[in-house]
């Protein structure tokens, strides 16, 4: 199915957010996720289903002022 990862359209296989993060290659990276504008805690990724057209944001630590 097609989703939007950080604004870019991609094809993915995984049905849950947990599996998707692994599929996308984030591995054990320290990242936070939001699906369709709502924060999804790490503890809830396994039970969060992914659907066609979902907008996924994956954020990591970066420099800030």
């Amino acid at each position: 199915m097609t989703i939007f990862l950080n604004g870019a359209e991609i094809d993915v296989q995984s049905g849950t957010l947990d599996a998707l993060i692994t599929e996308l290659g984030y591995g054990e990276a320290r990242v936070a996720t939001a699906l369709n504008g709502d924060f999804v805690p790490k503890s809830q990724r396994a039970e969060t289903a992914i659907a066609e057209g979902d907008r996924l944001e994956v954020l990591a630590p970066l420099q800030g002022g």
């Binding site: 990591a60 630590p61 800030g64």
Partner: protein, 260 residues
């Protein structure tokens, strides 16, 4: 610690808080943070492409520095965006601290005080310890305290402008109005003298980024800012003399020779 500053129960020797953005390189950033002697560094969250590891590399540097992090919600324009970003930051950085920015106007990056108060209330009720990026507006400040904030961070001037303290009278009034609330001048500092001026007014700390990161020699400027903040604080504690309009000789007149 002889004269610590305390935010939400955590005490720090240094009254300088430093941003981590805009440095020429990660190595210079790390050296500047060390030179600044800052106890708190601001950090952010951004999109990370899978496999790039840029964010992970940055996080390792920050961890090696052993500095307390204050994540921000920079770039957020709505309450929803800011609250969601705060939740993501809490998970990634494992801290209840959040520098809350809700930007209402692009040209001056002026805080949306209405959205700020609303977001501060939502986050405080959810266990966050909020450091709101605000203006010197006393009414908004009162509302932020009512919303649960135990620190206020008024701007000196617009973010990244380096203009110094645009409204010193307003900042003095805020200091006088909230004598017991930790107050931090955040944004607009360009030179060490600006930082010292804020500290001489009795502000508890100064938060800056661009002034150090964009200096010709960021590491030297970091040291200059640390010294300026310390000097300004010491000057405040020493209770400066009152200025006067007319001269008053400092050398004793008594015993002066008559040579005319």
């Amino acid at each position: 610690m002889t004269d610590p500053v305390t935010f939400y129960g955590e005490s720090f020797e240094s009254r300088l808080m430093l941003g981590t953005a805009l440095y020429p390189s990660p190595a210079i950033m790390a050296d500047a943070i060390r030179a600044s002697r800052a106890g708190i560094a601001t950090v952010s969250l951004r999109r990370e492409a899978a496999g790039t590891q840029e964010g992970q590399a940055f996080w390792r540097i920050i961890q090696e520095l052993g500095i307390t992090v204050l994540p921000n919600t920079a770039g957020c324009h709505t309450v929803k965006e800011a609250v969601t970003t705060a939740h993501m930051a809490r998970e990634v950085f494992d801290t209840p601290w959040i520098k809350l920015e809700v930007i209402g106007e692009e040209d001056r990056l002026q805080p949306d005080l209405f959205g700020l108060v609303e977001a501060a209330r939502i986050l405080s009720e959810d266990g966050f310890q909020v450091f709101p990026y605000t203006t010197e507006d006393l009414v908004a400040a009162g509302r932020l305290l009512d919303a649960g904030c135990e620190v206020l961070m008024p701007w000196g001037a617009p973010i990244g402008s380096g203009l110094g303290l645009s409204n010193p009278n307003g900042l003095k009034a805020m200091r006088g109005h909230f004598p017991d609330v930790p107050l931090v001048v955040d944004a607009g500092i360009g030179r060490p003298s600006h930082a010292a001026e804020a500290m001489e007014m009795g502000y508890d700390a100064v938060l800056l980024n661009t002034a150090v990161a964009k200096a010709g020699d960021p590491v030297r400027m970091a040291r200059a800012m640390a010294d300026a903040v310390a000097a300004g604080r010491l000057g405040y504690l020493a209770d400066p003399m009152e200025p006067r309009d007319m001269a008053a000789p400092s050398t004793p007149v008594m015993g002066k020779a008559f040579l005319s």
